[in-house]
Symmetry: C2
Subunit: 247 residues, 2 copies
Amino acid sequence: MRRKHQMDHDEDALAIKLQAFQPLGEDEKARLEDLQRHRMQFAAGSEVVYQGQTNRGAYILRKGWACSYKRLRDGSRQIIDIHLPGDFLGVRSLLLRTSDQSFITLTDVEVSKVTVEAMWDVFRAAPKLAVSLLWAASRDEAMVVEHLVSVGRRGALERTAHFLLELGARLHLIGCGTGDNYPCPISQAVLADALGMTTIHLNRVLRQLREIKLVVFREGTVTFPDVHRAAEFTGFDLRYLDHGTRP
Amino acid sequence: MRRKHQMDHDEDALAIKLQAFQPLGEDEKARLEDLQRHRMQFAAGSEVVYQGQTNRGAYILRKGWACSYKRLRDGSRQIIDIHLPGDFLGVRSLLLRTSDQSFITLTDVEVSKVTVEAMWDVFRAAPKLAVSLLWAASRDEAMVVEHLVSVGRRGALERTAHFLLELGARLHLIGCGTGDNYPCPISQAVLADALGMTTIHLNRVLRQLREIKLVVFREGTVTFPDVHRAAEFTGFDLRYLDHGTRP
DNA sequence: CGAAGCGTTGAGTATAATCAATTCTGGTGG
DNA sequence: CCACCAGAATTGATTATACTCAACGCTTCG
C-alpha cells in the first residue's frame, strides 16, 4: 500500500487533492489523466484569462502558482484567490458568458487546457469523478467565503496570519511543505492585494508578526515558529477546507 | 407569446431566474416544480442551517428574504450574501461534510427542502435543467467574488451604493421592483454586517448618500433618484450578473 | 554605472471604530 | 388613551487603524 500524499501519477496534485475527498479507481485516474492531456507552459506574469474574455475554456494548474483578481476603475485590484497546483482556473467562465475575473501566473507554470466538452464527457462517463470535481469546486468556494469574512471582519494582523496559515494547509494537502514551513514565491504587493491593504501597511504588519514570533515571511519562505499558537491567535479553524476522507 | 418577467408557474422566482439563462421546456418546468414539492415556512429570524451542521440538504427560497453569514470568535459576523426568492440556500453543504456557514431568515419565508438524491435525479434525467442550475450557482459565486472586491477595495460610500444597486438588479430580474426603487426589508445592522462596517458608520454613510442624492434608504425602501449617476459613481458593471439570454 | 523592482521607514492625514447618549418607532399592557 | 418598553436609528466626541506621500536601502540586471 502506498503512503498517503505520495505520488500516484507522477506528482499529479489534482489527483492527490481529490483523494482527500474520496479514493479514485484506476479508471477514474486514467480519465483524470486524460482530462489533463493538453499541456501548456506560461512564464511568470502571464495573463491566462482576462476579465471580460468570452472564450470558454478552463485550465488545470499542474505546477507553479497563479492568482485570480478583479481590477477596479481606479487601477487598484483585489486578488480573489491564490491558486496552487491541482487548482482549476476559470471553471466559472464555462457557464457564464464572459469571465468575471482575470488570472495571472505568479511563477512559471504548467497548465492543462480543459474544454467544456471534455468536462461534460466526464460528467456523463465518470460521475464519481465528476462528484469529486464538484467537491473541489465547493471547497474553492468555501475558501472565497472565508476570505470575504477575513477581509470584512478580521484585523490586519489576524487576517494576514490567517491567510498564510490557510496557504500552508492547502500546500500540505497536496504534499508541499510541512505544516509549519513552506516556500511562498509571492511579493508583498501580491499579498497586500489579496488581503485588501496597502503594500506599506502589509509590510508593517509582517514586521509585527515577525516581532511577536507568530509568522515569519522572508526570502520567499513562510515559517511559523509555533503553528498552534498562530492558529489559536487567528481563530484558524480549517473545517471549511474539508480535509480528510469521507466516511 | 408571454411577456418576459411574467409568471409561468404562479410566481416561481427560480423558474424566472433560470430563464434569464436559457428557456425551459414544459418538461423541465414540471421537474423544477417537482423539485420544490416539499414546502416549508419559517418566521423572520429563524436559523435555517447553522455553521457546522452535518445534515445534508439544501433549500430553495421561494418567498421572502434570508441571508448567509459566518460568525467569528469575538461575536461579530460577516454576512456573505443576501438571499432573495429563487435562490438556493446551502447547496455547498450537499458536498462538504459540514455546512461552512449559517443561514437566517430576514422576513417570514417559504422554502422548499431539496435532498441530495433529488438533485442527482435532476442531473440524470434533466441535464439541461441541471446546466441551468449550475449556471445559477456560478452566478451566485460571481456575486460573492464581487462582494469580496467591494469589501476589500471600495470605500464605504461606493461600497454601500454598489451593494444596493446589485440588490436592485437582482430583484428586477425576478420581477420585483423597478430599476430605481424597491422594498428592502432589512435593518441597518444587517446591511452593516454585509458591508463589513459598524452600524454607526453605515448610518453616517447612508446619510451622506442621501445628502448627495445618490441613494435613499428609508422606511424599508431603497430609491435611486438617478440610477445612472449611481451606477457611474460606484462603477457598477453588472456583467458579472450575466443577465440576458444566451445566444 | 544607472534603472527597475522590491522592501523598508517616517510623518501626516483620512477613514472607520469605539464609547456614550439621545431620539424615534412600533408594540404592549394598564 | 397613555405610560412604558425594546429595538432601531441617529448624533457627538474620541481613539485606533490604515492610507498617502515621500524618501531611502538593497538587489538584480542590462
